[in-house]
């Protein structure tokens, strides 16, 4: 992964903790959880958009990890191993829910409305509207396949070849889905910036920059 984000700074090296966890030391399990919980939970939350589901999946990912911890031999970084495991848990969950028969090799428009290719048709800028709340909402509106690729690449820092492997698709397809996802997001931001759906019945429009509240 190219943009691996660090775990909690200053926490004891994973190798020591793993060795202790392999011996059944409860503190080591706690410490491993503490060190990696934010990253795993955030991934689950972003992929599902639902707190309850994200908590369940975080739980499931860590349980799977701890059950397999005796087999960990350090061939790859522990965080990479855990993260990949968490991604698989989430994708499996989404498949079970039938949300993402995420075959990315499907036809171009299988993921929702057609994307306008007229990128240049609208030069309205998105100044100041891409904050955390807005991004969460916008990503929540993406079709599952687009969402997965966008999160894995732009948020989690996976490379296209890794995504292709994880999602069982071609590299080209991963790239194309990512591009479409970004364009969809832009479209979403443009719509919500310029045509806010929400007006209260007094006719007032929410204030400028409302997403930043």
């Amino acid at each position: 992964m190219s943009a691996q984000k660090p775990a909690v700074p200053g926490v004891a090296p994973d190798t020591q903790l793993i060795a202790r966890a392999q011996r059944g030391d409860e503190e080591a399990f706690t410490a491993l959880f503490e060190a990696h919980k934010r990253r795993v939970y955030s991934l689950c939350l972003r992929m599902t958009g639902n707190v309850a589901e994200a908590e369940d999946l975080t739980q499931e990912a860590f349980l799977q990890l701890f059950r397999k911890i005796s087999t960990f031999r350090g061939e790859s970084a522990f965080s990479t191993w855990l993260h990949r495991l968490a991604v698989n848990v989430v994708l499996m969950h989404l498949r079970k829910k039938g949300l993402s028969q995420i075959s990315l090799d499907e036809t171009e428009n299988s993921q929702g409305d057609p994307i306008k290719r007229d990128y240049g048709g609208d030069d309205r800028r998105l100044v100041g509207s891409v904050d955390r709340i807005a991004l969460t909402r916008a990503i929540g509106e993406l079709p599952p396949g687009y969402r997965s690729v966008f999160i894995l690449h732009d948020v989690e820092g996976y490379e296209h070849n890794e995504i292709a492997e994880i999602m069982n698709c071609s590299v080209g397809n991963s790239k194309s889905q990512l591009h479409k996802a970004r364009l969809k997001l832009r479209e979403w931001f443009q719509q919500h910036q310029l045509q806010p759906r929400g007006k209260d019945s007094t006719g007032r429009t929410p204030p400028e920059g409302r997403e930043e509240q």
């Binding site: 509106e141 019945s201 409302r210 509240q213």
Partner: protein
Amino acid sequence: MSAELSQSSGARKRSVMRGVGMFLLIPAGLLIAATPPQVEKNIETTATPRISISNLSGKVIVKGWDRSQVHVNYTSSSPQVTVDTEEFPPQGPVDKVHFTTYIIDHSTPGEAATVDYTLQIPAGSNLEIRNPQGLVQVESVQGDTSVESLGGNISVADAGGHLAVRSVGGNIEIIRPSGRVEAYSINGSLHFVDPATSRLHGTTTSGNIVYEGDFVPGGDYILSDYSGNMDIVCPPTASFELNAKTVRGKVNNTFPLVSRHSSAPPISSANSLFGTYSTGKATLELTSFSGTIHIRQK
């Protein structure tokens, strides 16, 4: 002369009446201006929409009903706060509705940034509420429900789905839940009444925990407090395995427990108790640091 007098008197009367009218109109106008903005609307939805309410302060009261419709009524305490309603998709029955309270003028004092919400929502809705300050009451919602507050009290009755409730300082009351329950507070107390769920987890630091009701066979009930007391009141027909531990507190139990898998007395020390009551169908894990754990019959 008399006619003049009469005319003059009439003019005076009209003038006085106009004065009185104006006098009455000014406060009436002020009264209208001071009436808090109240909004009422209906939104046609699917049977299981996702509803979220993100408020700043005020009451949020939500009730599930059997219609595929959201009926919302909200009252702002001042024109300086407004509510943004977002509905998805734009056409057809709505699947997601977000209500978000915004402050227009950030110099608005906290007490003026209050919005009270009352909603009826489809019983199958998934519900998410964030209301830092103020009461939250939810009733008869069968989908997953998540409620977060900072200082407000939370009461949820007859929830059917996964229920996650969290408040830093508020008390939490959960009545007759039938789905998985997770309740968490730092200073607030937790009160569970007649749970019909098989998974219940409650944690508080300085609040008390009261559990009133029976346990579902095969259920897991994990309750933990730090300095508060815990009171478990259940019927004599209950069946459970008990694992109660404290660091510096006490365990008081009135049930005749036996040791697991034998009729020997339960394992007990000054601040812990392990044992089985009846056939031990449910599992109770109760922990406290310095509080007292009471387990008693109803």
